[in-house]
């Protein structure tokens, strides 16, 4: 954990050497989800609601998933750009060090410019929370925080899976985007608006549904059942990381250096 902090502070200082570029890129990152959000806003301006969900409710969904995505893209960027480590043979160096490979890959890169993305989703969240008539209590606050955390774990897990594939393919594969970018776009709407098989896939295989749809129902008071269970549902998303870790270990064992 201390090592992780050190990796982070060193890379942060390194990025801060190019201060103007950092600020401009962060600003740019702010606008990427902004245009998506504008699209969402205009859709609601025209249609009013979608399958009984109002704009602010969907906005909360959007904010949670984008916040989780921004955080995990910042922290797990090392896995996202892992293919370059494999292709250049750099990964050998990580293997000979007496530390965990996961920690080292995580520490190989942080993308701090994602702070712009994060700022955008925080702004959206504050805006929608002001407009939503939610009666806050301790359980609901915990649920909301857990939702974001569980999202971070799921995205990180997918980044890891995609990185593991690089052990065999050497190159990064575009298909993995379906589950990172695609998962993000998909989960920014409540999953109930999709076809049944999509909802099932994104609840039971990749548990995005546990990150935002199911707990969201609870936050908005659309459920009947013990609050306690709904509070803990996001934890299912956290457990998604476990099989990913196993698969990663399996991949590391099968790693063959490119030699160059």
């Amino acid at each position: 954990m201390i090592l992780f902090g050190k990796y982070m502070s060193i890379l942060f200082k390194a990025q801060m050497q190019y201060r103007t570029s950092f600020f401009l890129l962060s600003l740019g990152q702010f606008f990427v989800p902004f245009s998506v959000f504008a699209g969402l806003y205009f859709l609601f301006a025209r249609f009013g609601q979608v399958e009984g969900w109002s704009f602010y409710e969907v906005g909360l969904c959007f904010a949670v998933i984008h916040m989780a995505f921004a955080i995990s893209e910042c922290l797990a960027r090392g896995f996202d750009s892992f293919s370059s480590l494999v292709a250049s043979g750099e990964f050998d160096r990580l293997l000979v060090r007496p530390r965990n490979t996961i920690l080292q890959v995580l520490g190989s890169k942080f993308e701090f410019t994602r702070i712009g993305r994060l700022a955008q989703s925080v702004a959206v969240m504050i805006w929608v929370l002001i407009h939503l008539p939610i009666e806050w209590d301790a359980i609901k606050v915990v649920t909301l925080i857990l939702m974001v955390i569980s999202g971070v774990f799921i995205f990180t897990g997918i980044f890891m899976l995609a990185a593991t594939l690089c052990f065999w393919t050497i190159q990064a594969i575009e298909v993995a985007n379906i589950f990172t970018d695609g998962g993000r776009e998909m989960a920014q709407y409540p999953l109930s608006i999709y076809k049944k098989w999509v909802t099932r896939f994104f609840t039971f295989v990749i548990p995005f549904g546990c990150t935002n749809y199911l707990p969201l129902l609870f936050l908005l008071g659309k459920t009947t059942g013990p609050d306690f269970i709904y509070m803990l549902i996001p934890l299912v998303g956290v457990f998604f990381i476990l099989p990913c870790l196993l698969i990663w270990q399996f991949g590391v064992k099968h790693y063959r250096s490119t030699g160059s």
Partner: protein
Amino acid sequence: MKPYFSVIKLRLLYGLQYRGAAFAGVATQFFWGFMYIMIFEAFYSHTHTEPPMTLNELVAYVWLQQAFLTLMALWFSDNEIFDLITKGNIAYELCRPCELYGLWYAKLLAQRLAAALLRSFPILIIAFLLPQPYRMMLPPSLTTFLFFLIALVLGLLILVSISMFIYISVFITMSPTGSLLMLGVVGEFFAGLILPIPLMPSWMQVLASCLPFRWTMDFPFRVYSGQIPEDQAWIGLVVQLVWLVVLVILGRFCLRKALGKVVVQGG
């Protein structure tokens, strides 16, 4: 003209080598297409007012977008040219007995064509065979289809001339990231990639019509489904031509200016 055509031919052959990447791209595009259609379907299912675009037209719009994404996406760029500029190899390019603007234009055009050739046909063929409501409609008549083809070609030419500005900006900023990001976000939004133009509020539609981006994707795709009737499509084609001429002239002028100031550091 001959050297430009050979550049196009060479680049086409080169681009067609990447079949594996194209296959992965097709899968990704299908996912996005399905997702967008499902989202729009959900919005359409409970609406009380008549939307400006029928669901069928919208489905065709989405599939065309996905099929021709590599033809029309601004972020799809050539890193070779960026390297040429930042690393100073531009000096070799300048020695060639061709005009630089034309040369790069041909190169970029061919790259997009190659990528699109590999991806668009599988997507379109499958999209025609899908069950309703995902099936792509045929254009209402042969003339609409011809209009669509002309509009698509003009749209592509406009897009390449817009993307030239990204490369020209690298002469000044030395890094493509910023301009690529900014132009990419604005361009995508106003080309209707995130939200189809007809679904935008009217003030936004006016704004979109004043910018060139709409004429690259949105216009041809709406001509295809007949959402823009033929008598209005004529006017659109003229607007496209005007934009093309303006952008090319402006681009050439900027490139000449930028080249006048270019500094090649030794090595």
